[in-house]
Amino acid sequence: MTVPAMPSPPMTGEVRPPASVAPPITENATIVVERLSKWYGDVVAVSDVTFGIDPGVTALLGPNGAGKSTTLEMLTGLLAPSAGTIRLLGKPARGDVSLYRDVGLVPEQETLYPFLTCREFVRLNAVLQKLSDPDAATERALDIVEMLPDADRELRGFSKGMRQRTKVAAALVHDPSILLMDEPLNGTDPLQRARLIDLIIRLGKQGKTVVVSSHILHEVERFADRILVINRGKLAAAGDYHAIRDKIDEHARAVRIRCSDPRRLASELIRDNAIVSMRFEPTLDGTLPSLVIETGDVRSFYRIAPAAARALDVHLYEVSALDDSLASVFAYVVGR
């Protein structure tokens, strides 16, 4: 499907500046959002957002209150947009219940039916999906999230992580082609988190459209091919994670260096034209201060700094980018 209204360049490798974060809508897009807005009185929750989502894993990133959950709720049809349109698999997100045969939602809220067992809850979802063999579908979904050993326990006794996995099983029970997950990693322990991330990656590789809302930035980096960054209700950036990070490289980056003689090394590095600023950061234990350098060309700096240290016979103990993570991408794009 092509959406001619908003012409856009190809998505791969391209990052849109926030002023014109146009949607990378392709023919493969299973979710097409155009000029979506939601406001409550004078408060704008989502403002004129346009994007397309292809099969694979896409992360919806943003700080709390940025409009992620509101956007997801509108994608599922739970919430009516104030303006704009949403189409999933070519159908409007709201008003056509047949769409839910192909869509699964893992909602953020934890409330489940406490008196049901895990198996009963997942089966209820299978029955409501009108599956021909709800029992087999239930067992399959429970197996995927590794909940079979606890399937006959009541949900009231479940930990947060177990509830998350139960919700994922319920969302997967009808094998939807679009899976929307609102903060699915919340409350999971490291092992559960790793398994859920593996599952998300696996579902993406199977050709499903998986949209994961999250604010846990370093984890998103592990599973999302693409990210949509939402801040203050606006689409701050959209595209490939690595492309966005490369874009960050064009801007000043902070690097901390711990070494045997920070002042001597600083006097050498200051000659580099790309250096924007330099400061010494005292340490709490009274040892040598750290050297914090802001550079406009971080890749070049990573070559120059070790060479300078070697030439001066200064020992490097640590060279760490203060913002070399998805957190920096996030801070950069939302801070603009």
Partner: protein
């Protein structure tokens, strides 16, 4: 095995596992307590008069609407409030089916509780001579069932429209129907209570109580049927259009 009415079953289990059912059940024992007092001192009234009085003065104006109100607001409104409703609405099933199954659960549960309450009261008041007055009990059962249909549909619709549905329902049944209805005769025409009481009176040759301007049986049934149809349609429309945040 396929479950033809999964939402009905789910809702009844919600009722059974919730606190509301215990409150409702305890509340439903109030007429039986009056029957025990009647056993101790019957005064001058016959059992038939006592049972008619209990129904017309306690069950129809208070117990019936409140029991139904609590269950009806629990059935839909609470699921919207605690957001478990998303597990029902994000399915390829019509909103009308959700409303109808929820309504059926309310009607089934409320009717059984009210019948149990009235049966117990009847058995106590009749002092073991239960077969002697059975047509009165059956008339009460019928009136209660119709009342549960009317109140159930009305309160379910209210629970999707008004944030404090329980309070709104109490205001309707206790202030509007009971208090204002007493002083402003016209109000009874727009109160479920009057139709429920009319059905009881019209089903019996000797109702043992009088009711001013009692409606005839079929017009009363038609009004309740229209109320049920209209309010369930409103509830379905509301569930279809509301934002579930």
């Amino acid at each position: 095995m396929m479950d033809p009415v999964p939402i009905l079953g789910l809702t009844i289990r919600q009722f059974i596992g919730g606190k509301a059912i215990r409150v409702v059940f305890l509340f439903s024992l109030v007429p039986a307590i009056f029957a025990l007092i009647y056993l101790i001192d019957a005064g001058t009234s016959t059992p038939r008069e006592f049972i008619a009085g209990i129904f017309q003065e306690l069950v129809a104006p208070t117990l019936l609407p409140i029991v139904t109100l609590i269950l009806a607001t629990n059935a839909l409104g609470n699921e919207v409030e605690d957001r478990t409703m998303v597990y029902l609405v994000l399915k390829p099933i019509s909103r009308a089916r959700i409303v109808l199954e929820k309504f059926a659960a309310v009607v089934l549960t409320a009717t059984l509780i009210l019948w149990e309450s009235m049966l117990l009261t009847y058995l106590l008041a009749m002092r073991g001579d239960a077969g002697n007055n059975i047509e009165q009990l059956l008339a009460i059962f019928a009136a209660q069932f119709v009342g549960v249909l009317g109140y159930g549909a009305l309160f379910m619709a209210i629970s999707l429209i008004v944030p404090r549905a329980l309070l709104a329902g109490l205001i309707y049944s206790l202030l509007w129907e009971s208090l204002f209805g007493r002083f402003i005769p016209g109000i009874r025409l727009v109160s479920v209570r009057h139709y429920v009481q009319s059905i009881y009176v019209r089903l019996l040759d000797r109702p043992a109580v009088s009711l001013d301007e009692a409606m005839n049986l079929f017009p009363a049934l038609i009004v309740i049927a229209c109320l049920v149809g209209a309010t369930l349609a409103i509830a379905t429309w509301r569930l279809r259009t509301m934002n579930l945040e």
